[in-house]
Symmetry: C2
Subunit: 759 residues, 2 copies
């Protein structure tokens, strides 16, 4: 009855097993798509499809013709210039993270934008250097190019040949890593692997970026304090660097320390102001730009380099360098790291892009993004730049200053181009420690993510564990290997979550068709001899034994043990009957001896196997009631359960191992005359079991019922809980809140009959 009456749930229908339901309501024949069908659709070819693919490879072909020149150009110009200035500074600062001379950072800020302009699908992100990626490249560079530990503070000022060579080597390694990462991204894009980002959960990204921030923080210390720190390779590189730094803390260049602390303080305060008065300020104060101009001026004016022996940006060669062919040997040594760089770079760019795509409601395409980033990195690497993605802060500038399309990106690249070609030399007196301080200024947000731990702990222990383990892995093992370990660990948590399901025994609540954990409620009713057991998770190889144990705990006995005890008892009884020591009367056994010592208690192999067979009493002239007293103190465990209902509504799948385990379990129950019912599964589940030959003479496919209530009603009917029997049980319960409305039931039946016939 679907007609609502008051606030009543009224239902009257036949009790349905899956089979009887299937007979009454025929299923439609549906052809399910096979893998082949999917492949066919995927590989099918049409002019339209070819055109769509071509267009998707060059997104510019769709957005540029639709560009609204009048409305958008001005915003794009303003945004482009602001973003360009930020990009110049970030390029210089992040080059320090890569361990290459700052000027190379400008290349990294120029080339990717050009490629992305043609191939990218996001209109708002600013591609280019990203601190975490720079760090990851830097880690490889330190590993492959061993800096002589004798490098002193003066090395830079004297600009010896060795340093030049060393820098050149570092640049080459960084370039090779960048090209390889680009190639990996390109291949992943071509193979449509854009979906991998879904494996990076929020908790993992949060933990990972926090670890990256810690890495950045530690790596910048050497520039802030101006200490020569030899490179250390993972794992534990972070701790080794810290030890290096603190072991020579007395050699700190005070001028650099003071400058960077002042810059850091000012940047923090102004950023705070920007944040707080966001609404009132037309544009955020470009504090990085201001501080750079001031610092460069001061350093030049007071000749800091000579006076305090600080390290400065130094020579900024104007113009581009010739493209190079990356070294294949380097490829071999760095492929693991490059995978990490490729995936992190893509993941960051994609997640920032999807924020804007959601906000402005346009589609982005993960695979096309991979292709765009891949080609961008290949080009950048060829021109000695280093791997880029997108920096959230810079993309924020581009979008908040009004950028409408990648025209703004193109303009920002032109600003960078101007810096490369013309005005770069102006930055030569800038202290490296200032760049380091500016890089650190961006870390606050990432480091604040530590507060996530507490929040996650309250919400979800597993997610909290993912955060902590990701952080530890990334800090200890380094970012590349750490990422791999974290993803593996994270996937493991999905297994953990389902591995120890909270199985429970259910009971009817308040005599409704509602079944809940019987421990939680007091007004429960359990039909006598019926056990209802719920498993709230998929069952598979790793938890089938756990499930079995929980089921045994719930019913209170092991069916296999009961079966064997019964078979043993039966053997004994047969022997006694044969010897004439036992007689059977309608009232039970009459034993003519007081005790009987079984001559051979030991069983050989075949006999052991017999014990696992169904209890066969067909040759006996009577039925044995196993729960009654047996003669001669033959002891068999009492079984007070005649029906077991397994609620499988949350069992999303079974694998082959669990199917075998479940089958054995069900068989054992059936052999000791406990009826098993499975309820709440969907049709596919039953189909699959049939396909796997799950059913046989003992475990039949008639055990499926639609709901727990259907199964319970079926059991009550089958076991003939007649009204009279019910009334007597009702007597016992008079003290409780329950009374059973025996008449209501009858009247209900009266009401019901016409309904049923109408259907």
């Amino acid at each position: 009855m679907i007609e609502p009456i008051g606030n009543q749930y009224i239902e009257s229908r036949p009790v349905y097993s899956a089979n009887s339901f299937g007979e009454e309501y025929k299923k439609k024949q549906r052809r399910h798509k096979t893998i082949l069908d999917h492949l066919r659709v995927y590989c099918s070819c049409s002019t339209q499809k070819a055109k769509r693919i071509a267009l998707s490879l060059f997104p510019i072909a769709s957005w540029l013709p639709a560009y609204r020149l009048k409305e958008w150009l001005l915003s794009d110009i303003v945004s482009g210039i602001s973003t360009g200035l930020v990009a110049v500074l970030q390029g210089l600062a992040f080059a320090l993270l890569v361990n290459v001379p700052p000027s190379y950072g400008l290349y990294a800020a120029f080339f990717p934008v050009i490629v992305y302009f043609f191939l990218g699908t996001s209109r708002h992100i600013s591609v280019g250097p990203f601190p975490v990626l720079s760090m990851m490249v830097g880690a490889v560079v330190s590993r492959l190019v061993p800096e002589e530990s004798t490098t002193t503070l003066n090395a830079n000022s004297s600009m010896g040949n060795s340093t030049l060579l060393l820098d050149e080597q570092k640049v080459l390694v960084a370039a090779a890593v960048t090209v390889l990462s680009g190639i990996i991204q390109l291949i992943m894009g071509a193979l449509q692997f854009g979906f991998v980002v879904i494996y990076l959960s929020d908790s993992l990204i949060s933990g990972f970026t926090t670890a990256a921030a810690v890495h950045v923080l530690v790596s910048q210390l050497k520039f802030m304090l101006q200490l020569p720190v030899p490179p250390h390779s993972d794992p534990f590189s972070l701790f080794k660097v810290l030890i290096s730094v603190f072991s020579q803390i007395q050699d700190t260049n005070i001028a650099d320390l003071v400058t960077s602390l002042i810059i850091l303080l000012v940047v923090f305060v102004v950023k705070e102001i920007n944040q707080r008065y966001k609404a009132k300020l037309p544009v955020p104060i470009p504090i990085e730009l201001i501080m750079t101009v001031i610092a460069t001026g001061v350093s030049y004016g007071f000749n800091f380099k000579e006076r305090f022996n600080v390290t400065v940006v130094g020579e900024m060669p104007s113009g581009f360098q010739l493209p190079i062919t990356p070294d294949v040997q380097t490829f071999q040594d760095t492929i693991g790291d490059c995978f990490g760089i490729a995936i992190v770079g893509f993941a960051v760019a994609y997640s920032v892009a999807s924020v804007y795509s959601l906000k402005y409601d346009y589609p982005i395409d993960g695979n096309q993004e991979l292709i765009a980033l891949g080609l961008a990195n290949i080009l950048t690497g060829s021109f000695k730049g280093f791997a880029g993605s997108t920096a959230l802060s810079r993309s924020g500038v581009q979008e908040s200053t009004g950028g409408k399309s990648q025209i703004a990106g193109l303009l920002s690249a032109i600003i960078v181009l101007i810096a490369i070609l013309a005005i770069g030399f102006l930055l030569e007196p800038l202290q490296k420690s200032v760049l380091a301080a500016l890089a650190l200024g961006n870390l606050k947000g990432m480091l604040m993510q530590f507060t996530e731990i507490g929040r996650l702990w309250r919400k979800d222990k597993y997610d909290c564990l993912i955060w902590i383990m990701t952080f530890i892995f990334a800090v200890v093992l380094g970012l590349g290997l750490g990422l791999a370990a974290s993803v593996a660990f994270q996937l493991l948590t999905i297994v953990f979550r389902t591995q120890f399901p909270k199985c429970s025994s259910l009971a009817m609540i308040g005599r409704r068709n509602i079944y809940k954990n019987k421990k939680d409620y007091s007004e429960i009713y359990e039909p006598e001899g019926v056990k209802i057991f719920r498993c709230p998770s998929p069952i598979y190889f790793a938890n089938i034994n756990f499930f079995k144990q929980k089921l045994i705990d719930a019913v209170g006995f092991s069916p296999l043990r009961v079966l064997r005890k019964r078979n043993k008892a039966l053997k004994k009884i047969r022997k006694l009957l044969k010897k004439g020591l036992l007689q059977v009367t309608p009232k039970g056994f009459i034993c003519t001896v007081d005790s009987f010592q079984d001559s051979d208690d030991e069983l050989d192999n075949n006999q052991i196997e017999e014990l696992d067979q169904p209890v066969n009493t067909t040759d006996l002239p009577f039925q044995i009631d196993w729960n009654a007293e047996l003669p001669l103190n033959i002891e068999v465990p009492k079984v007070n359960v005649h029906s077991l209902i397994l609620d499988f509504s949350a069992v999303a799948f079974l694998d082959v191992s669990s199917m075998r385990g479940l089958k054995t379990m069900l068989q054992e129950f059936v052999r000791i005359k406990v009826d098993v019912y499975i309820v709440g599964t969907d049709d596919d589940f039953i189909e699959k079991l049939k396909r796997c030959e799950f059913f046989d003479e003992e475990v039949k496919d008639s055990i499926f019922f639609l709901t727990i209530h259907d199964a319970v009603l079926h059991i009550l009917i089958k076991k003939d809980y007649s009204t009279s029997k019910f009334n007597s049980s009702q007597e016992k319960e008079k003290n409780t809140d329950f009374t059973i409305n025996t008449n209501g039931g009858l009247r209900n039946r009266e009401c019901q009959v016409p309904v049923e016939t109408q259907f």
Copy 2:
């Protein structure tokens, strides 16, 4: 009503939301055990517990006093002697797999049994050499001890110093690996890591042992053909060995080949007979023993060694060698392999032991098994043996010949001891190729497991994939690394299984309280404007976007897009109203202009964010019907869904990422006035969402209903599907099989009232 009437499901109760149900049936306050509580129980100390632990560390203390001397001793003696003979032969044969001289195999067959006698919990398994483990140790030996490739066939017969030294080195490596594996097992046992075996599913073990059989097969070729094969390290070692063998196939020693083929044939045939006439034979024919005796006699009698230049077992030093301290350097180089050996060894022993423990109904303890095997391996390694576990075939002999306890094991060790001390020299003329053939004779069963592939493919694609990938990993990467890769892959499949859930739209079937996939049935009824959506798997970071997309597909629109379109339209209407171009009448809008060009279609940042806010029409003097025609061709997507029911009965858990995604989704639906209901969750689920601050002004905790039917009824009542309205819809359906029993409903209500008041 729980009283069964005919075969009818009759129910009448209030419609329950989770909240109203909670009010009517109070939940008991239950204190759930925290991690701390579990720890406290685990760490608590009592005399009883201490005694139990002490006893569990020395299982012999409990089973030896209960030993039934009279009944069991004879069986144990018979069994012990048979097993001992098999153990001698297997020890010699498996030593070839380890690449050490055969005599060391006898040590491997002696020491573990002694330790296991005192510490093991299984009464039936025969510990000692196991082919797969021997292979794994052998792989490490080949890697670490590079055999001079100049070793010729004559090297053995001339017994040069270099060969002696080489053999000595191999023995030392094998011993070190064995000790380290033992240490790992011991530590795992002490840390209660016995549960790791559950991660080895049936499919994985089947694929892995098949791969091991292939490895054994290939490794024995060199002994059967008597070819010098240089060792090859993983990965791809198997293919490299094959290439080595076939590139020098012309140098095959025909005598060895013929001997081994004959032996192999005879063994196969007799084993087949043993299998087929199992029931009729008192004991299986000990064909290996017979063949060994014959082969040794023939080889000695005809002086095969001199005549055909075959390789023989050679010198069998009698007595034991002095114990050694294993090399720590070797530990470092082999720790990865040792992990594999430790786990595989334990897994095999445990699985064989659990077969017997189930059969004879006694408990075994995984952690104690680990400790026993660990100490056994440490002792064996110290005396230059190699890692052992249990061979299924040998345990089979021990059990089938009547072994009742580890007394049989002890006796088998004594037989091995006799071979070591006294009669070993008798085996000196035995050809190594005979031993190789005997080892291969045991592989048939394992190789037959290839047929599993087809069976698994029909049953479960994922399990089939696990089998194939495990096999490929173990063959290509080697057994140790392959096992690790397989376990990782296997755990990934659990993620895959839940990652692309088969979400479906449900509908009422046959107007019952039954809801199934609407595509499957024809007699469906979907209340107008109500969508019922089921997700059949947990929702977490890797499938939340998939879930969202499927939900959008199912309802037919993206709520966010609709929300934005509505807000945009509202802006336009407001503007028109303000300019007086639009008038509102009770019948709708009247527009006084024909067209209106919005001056500024562009929105700045804040306005974009406004679009995501709930549609606010409180300042307007009328309500807008978004599904009606709007003036001036303002277009807003039509939404024909007013209520969405999410069936979460199979959603076992949500993680933090998915919770955030779900919340956003629900919010968007609520903001476009689609009521969302979640049904079928258990109480813990709701508790968790509350703890995670999931609920707010928009997404309320009143969205939970007990069942789909409760939610549907609630919606029908809320949306006032009055009887009259229903009747009219009924008119339309007259051609169908349905008629709605309007009177029945009323009568039902009459019946129901007294029932309700009684409860």
